[in-house]
């Protein structure tokens, strides 16, 4: 019998099996090979072993993943445990990179204006009452912040809101909301900063923002 060409390589790990998939073969080829390999390695009545797939520089879409999962599901000895690939779509890259992108708005954000950005925003001016600024990242206001702001709107926990004068009408980071009437500080905070601390939303002077948040500043400054 002729030895068949292998497109998947199996390696045992402490946490289960790692399946490395050839980067250059067709999808059909490696799916067929996977089917046969799993067939060979199946053990009767054994405990199901989790399999993690490694695709290297191959991009895998939903269709391939579904086929993959259904193949693994047909074999009781194995359990699908996710995958890793060096490739992502531009969209995914944008989403990953999005929180770290900076946008600039020159001038005063006035009542009725809505600035909605993917990433962080620097407002070179004031944010007036009635203006709305939303960002997936952080919000920095060089002037007085008196409007409505929402940082980390899609769940970025490290987002901060900083302003020369921090006196928001409504402020929110992720899904935690501060409202001026219900909570302190009602007074304007000079060089103020809001962030998510251990006890929820915290306010402090910009200079005393915890180190965890300062790392974020450092990385951004290095990138220029």
């Amino acid at each position: 019998m002729i030895e068949r060409k292998r497109f998947v390589t199996m390696k045992g790990h402490r946490t289960g099996l790692a399946v490395h998939v050839n980067e250059r073969c067709s999808v059909e080829e490696f799916l067929d090979d996977l089917e046969l390999t799993l067939e060979e390695k199946s053990v009767e009545n054994g405990r199901a072993v989790p399999i993690t797939f490694f695709f290297g520089r191959r991009y895998v879409d939903e269709g391939v993943l579904t086929a993959l999962e259904s193949i693994v599901a047909r074999h009781d000895s194995f359990l699908y445990n996710g995958y890793e690939s060096d490739c992502i779509t531009k969209e995914e890259a944008k989403a990953l990179y999005g929180d770290r992108t900076f946008h600039y708005f020159g001038g005063t954000a006035r009542s009725g204006q809505v600035l909605d950005v993917e990433g962080s925003i620097v407002v070179v001016g004031d944010i007036n009452p009635g203006a709305v600024v939303r960002a997936t990242g952080s919000i920095y206001c060089l002037g007085a912040l008196r409007g409505t702001v929402h940082a980390g709107k899609s769940g970025y926990q490290d987002a901060v809101i900083a302003a020369s004068i921090l006196q928001p009408k409504w402020l929110s980071i992720c899904d935690i909301v501060y409202h001026e009437i219900e909570e302190e500080p009602a007074e304007a905070l000079d060089m103020g900063c809001a962030f998510l601390g251990e006890s929820g939303l915290e306010f402090s002077r910009l200079q005393t923002v915890p180190q965890a948040r300062m790392d974020q500043f450092a990385i951004d400054s290095e990138r220029g």
């Binding site: 006035r110 009542s111 007036n128």
Partner: protein, 282 residues
């Protein structure tokens, strides 16, 4: 509209007037009163002025000026070609050269388009030193009509949060409009004792929020209401402080540097004391 164009060709005059829109966003802060008084003050100083009411459907400017029984045609008639532009203008006989183009009371804002208003304003600018446009409240078509032909803008607000926030919105819209008009601010109905007690926004707070040039302050005065009632703009009264405020604003529009009125209530007391002394009450 053809007729307006015709007129443009026929009356190729050399004047390059300034078209100034008076707007506010919020209603009832004193746009119409401000338009009437600045117009009157300009006319008193010898300039030729045409006031244009763009508040179609809710016209008021003619009443404040005391010209309500004299308007025959209006801006909609001009646009639809019912009359020529000069036929619709109502002359205010108290002055050398002050005219009013009334709005229609029976139509609504959609009866004219911004382009049509712009054409009328451009025509008027050739004949008058100043064309003042009274803008309706709101940010819809009426507002778009009013700003279409304007070169400059005056934003009127009162020291109330709601009025300031609406003014802010209007300033934002003016700044982002195609014409990029830089607006100037008039703060109306100033009550210094309420500002001092913190029951009203004070001037500094308003300026901090709106951050545009201040053209002037008008004190809250019952005489303004009485003057509108009589159809005689308050600025025609030489002794009234609100009237003085409007004259100062007008002088600033003309490029003079005039110091702001001292509005502290102490001063006001002194002023009233003087007034009462003059009247022999004290």
């Amino acid at each position: 509209m053809e007729q307006v164009k015709e007129q443009v060709h026929r009356e190729a005059k050399t004047k390059v007037g300034r078209a100034i829109v008076v707007t506010s966003g919020k209603g009832g802060v004193g746009k119409t009163t401000t338009t009437a008084n600045i117009g009157t003050a300009l006319a008193l100083m010898g300039h030729s002025v045409c006031l244009v009411d763009t508040d179609i459907g809710l016209r008021n400017l003619d009443i404040v000026l005391g010209l309500d029984n004299r308007s025959i045609y209006n801006i909609v008639d001009v646009v639809t070609g019912q009359c020529k532009l000069h036929q619709a203008l109502v002359r205010d006989k108290r002055f050398e050269e002050m005219y009013l183009l009334p709005a229609a009371q029976s139509k609504d804002k959609s009866s004219v388009t911004p382009d049509q208003v712009k054409e009328i304003i451009d025509t008027l600018k050739r004949d008058y030193d100043f064309v003042l446009i009274d803008c309706p409240a709101g940010i819809e078509q009426g507002f778009m009509n009013a700003i279409a032909g304007a070169d400059e803008a005056i934003v009127v607000t009162t020291p109330e949060k709601a009025a300031v926030q609406d003014a802010d919105r209007i300033i934002g819209m003016l700044e982002r409009s195609d014409r990029v008009i830089t607006p100037k601010l008039v703060i109306n109905r100033v009550r210094s004792h309420m500002m001092e007690s913190g029951d009203m926004l004070d001037i500094d707070e308003i300026m901090r929020i709106l951050s545009i040039d201040l053209l002037g302050l008008i004190v809250d005065d019952e005489e303004v209401i009485a003057a509108s009632h009589r159809g005689v703009p308050v600025t025609m009264n030489p002794d009234n402080r609100a009237g003085l405020g409007y004259r100062n604003i007008t002088r600033r529009i003309l490029g003079e540097s005039v110091p702001l009125l001292d509005l502290s209530s102490k001063q006001e007391k002194g002023f009233f004391l003087k007034l009462k002394k003059m009247l022999g009450l004290k």
